[in-house]
């Protein structure tokens, strides 16, 4: 790989990679069984530079912010390189958010340029917020020939043949603004520097190296910190190939493994569990004799890899299992949410390593990662090289709040010095998660201190963001909490939200109000729904500016109510 310590910026590192491996394939884009694109690093450069040139012609300069709103595909990475080449700050937006929320984040980021897929742009144009859209240049990809683009330009035609100027940036300059949450009242735009990314890449590739010939399967959204690192910066600075699959259908994911001889893939627990389920089902369908043989081979593999993995041995012993994943798979990376140890163990017993770790966008992706020396399913691994992890105020069992110090920790939250000061204290990032470090240096996660949940799909949900969907409910006041925040549980599995409702004059909720709560809840995306409601009969404690004192209210609820009193919706 390239020696990233020599580079000042992502643009500089990527530029060097394009020169170093001109004939290697850098991108393959597949949609179901069709292959849309297959390009080399040279062709990638030839696509990106005329785009950069056109952007510079239209006033793109050092520090200009540009948002990308696309599903995983080659144009995402080509556009990102054009932005970095031109000294820009990239704002990767989540394509899975509703269009009005995307527009709010776009406005918050002050991005002047927007690169967007047609179907997402069409949805944006239909919202009330569209009128106040401020992006100066909008480039729409894959728009049908006669589509109304509302003044936007076609990405495919937006080119300038003149030579663009490479704009250098320093390590401390902002590279990206990544929204970790807060699409409601208070957007959390993590400003990550070039140094944050370069250092993270050095740390991750020291454990999981890439090289020309490695095929990384990209299905997690590229706007997500994990795929941005292991599905773009990591493989590109090592001359490897990224395979974009434009569908999440399980049957096409399975097919892609064998067709593209995948080496690595990052996924969320939900997909990993789905793969586990599929394998277990296939095992159950084996004849009793074959199943006995398989179980015996798994036992042998387990015994021989107890202390450290032996990929070649596992591939020989459990050939058919490994063949089902294409025969070249070295590891899965799982992240975005907590993964159950039994799932990690299942794959390890088959000789398939799962790089399980812990991280957050604010820390520049991963903080800890499994090092397989030996494999342990019950922890989130050890701190990556360059990461210092400290437990704040540990209790008698050593459990306290996880804090991190490293060159990968973000610079600040965009336009929010108050939240930045609460989150980064004396150089330490306060994660809001609870954990302990065991005697062998592994981090064990023990729940959350902050009022939030993470779904199995890796989505961070902040209760405050859900409250706006219940605005106007005919009750005196209401508030949404993470159930585990009200009643702490030392688990990060099956987290749920609870709506706390205080009715007028402390009267019991009427069937009409309950029906309305249910109706509003049904209109939310499934991962945003509250699991139930809790009736409360006292005024909420408020600040001088009439905001709910959530911490105090949570303490009151904890003292007065039990979790079993939550009425399921």
């Amino acid at each position: 790989m390239l020696d990233l310590s020599k580079f000042q910026s992502l643009g500089e590192a990527l530029r060097a990679a394009l020169e170093r491996w001109p004939n290697e394939v850098c991108l393959i884009e597949a949609d179901r069984e069709r292959e849309n694109t297959r390009i080399t690093y040279r062709q990638f450069k030839d696509s990106a530079l005329p785009l950069a040139s056109a952007m510079q012609r239209d006033g793109f300069q050092n520090g200009t912010r540009a948002a990308i709103l696309m599903t995983n595909q080659s144009k995402w990475l080509i556009s990102a390189y054009a932005i970095f080449f031109s000294g820009g700050v990239l704002v990767p937006l989540d394509y899975k958010l509703p269009a009005d929320e995307q527009l709010r984040l776009l406005a918050h980021s002050s991005a002047e340029f927007l690169v967007v897929e047609y179907h997402l742009w069409r949805a944006m144009m239909q919202t009330a917020e569209f009128k106040s859209m401020r992006a100066r240049v909008v480039l729409v990809t894959e728009a049908p020939a006669k589509a109304d683009l509302g003044g936007a330009e076609r990405w495919e035609e937006y080119r300038d043949p003149s030579e663009p100027t490479f704009v250098p940036r320093t390590r401390k300059d902002a590279a990206c603004i990544v929204y970790s949450s807060g699409t409601g009242g208070r957007p959390k735009g993590c400003v990550l520097t070039h140094e944050n990314y370069l250092e993270q890449c050095i740390a991750l590739t020291s454990l999981y190296p890439f090289w020309p010939g490695v095929h990384y399967l990209s299905i997690l959204p590229t706007n997500h910190a994990i795929d941005f690192m292991v599905g773009f910066i990591g493989p590109f600075t090592c001359g490897a190939t990224v395979v974009h699959l434009r569908t999440l259908r399980p049957e096409f994911i399975r097919e892609a493994f064998t067709r593209y001889k995948i080496t690595y893939m990052a996924l969320v627990p939900l997909i990993l569990k789905n793969l586990e389920r599929g394998l277990r089902q296939r095992f159950a369908e084996l004849s009793p004799g074959k199943r006995r043989v398989l179980n015996a081979l798994v036992r042998v593999n387990k015994a021989l890899t107890k202390n450290k993995p032996n990929l070649n041995l596992s591939r020989t012993l459990l050939k058919q299992v490994h063949q089902a994943f294409g025969g070249e798979l070295r590891a899965f990376f799982v992240g975005g949410a907590f993964t159950e140890p039994s799932t990690l163990q299942f794959f390890y017993d088959m000789g398939i390593q799962v790089g399980n770790g812990y991280g957050c966008t604010e820390a520049g992706t991963a903080i800890t990662l499994n090092d397989f020396k030996p494999f342990r399913a019950d922890t989130a691994g050890k701190p990556l090289p360059g990461m210092e992890v400290k437990i704040n105020n540990p209790d008698t069992e050593g459990v306290g709040e996880v804090t991190v110090r490293s060159k990968t920790v973000m610079s600040h939250y965009l336009d929010d010095p108050e939240m930045t000061a609460e989150t980064i204290v004396d150089g330490w990032l306060i994660t809001g998660d609870l954990g302990r470090i065991d005697s062998s240096g592994h981090l064990q996660l023990m729940g959350r201190k902050k009022n939030m949940i993470v779904t199995e799909e890796g989505k961070n949900i902040y209760p405050e963001d859900i409250e706006r969907y219940f605005e106007g409910l005919p009750v005196k006041e209401f508030c949404v909490f993470a159930a585990n925040y009200l009643w702490p549980a030392r688990t990060m599995v099956g987290e749920q939200l609870v709506l706390v409702v205080h009715s007028e004059n402390e009267r019991p909720l009427t069937p009409e109000i309950i029906a309305e709560i249910g109706e509003r809840n049904r209109h939310l995306a499934n991962f945003k729904r509250v699991s139930g409601y809790l009736e409360w009969n006292r005024d909420f404690p408020l600040t001088a500016s009439m905001k709910i004192k959530r911490l105090v209210l949570a303490e009151q609820i904890r003292a007065d109510r039990e979790r079993s009193q939550v009425v399921a919706l």
């Binding site: 599903t71 394509y95 899975k96 509703p98 179907h119 997402l120 434009r246 569908t247 999440l248 259908r249 399980p250 049957e251 939900l270 997909i271 789905n274 199995e456 799909e457 049904r522 995306a525 499934n526």
Partner: protein
């Protein structure tokens, strides 16, 4: 050309068959994640089954923010 009601009815029949639930337990306004007790990947599986039945191709994004049978049927109807 099928009517939206016919399409919705066929969607409900196929969903019941696919996830082995009694057809009379499903209504067009139901949230399929909740009624069927499925996650987003299982919903994609259903989408594949529906594509085969209606001989259409629906990109994954068509299912984004769709959670009831009726809206799903509308998305299918627009491609028939």
């Amino acid at each position: 050309m099928k009517t939206l009601d016919q399409t919705t009815d066929e969607v409900l029949n196929l969903a019941a068959q696919h996830f082995k639930v009694p057809r009379d337990k499903l209504n067009s306004g139901d949230d399929f994640f909740k009624t069927l007790g499925i996650n987003s990947l299982q919903a994609l599986d259903l989408l594949t089954r529906l594509e085969q039945h209606f001989s259409i191709e629906l990109p994954d994004y068509e299912l984004q923010d769709v959670s009831d049978f009726r809206t799903l049927a509308e998305r299918i109807q627009s491609r028939l």
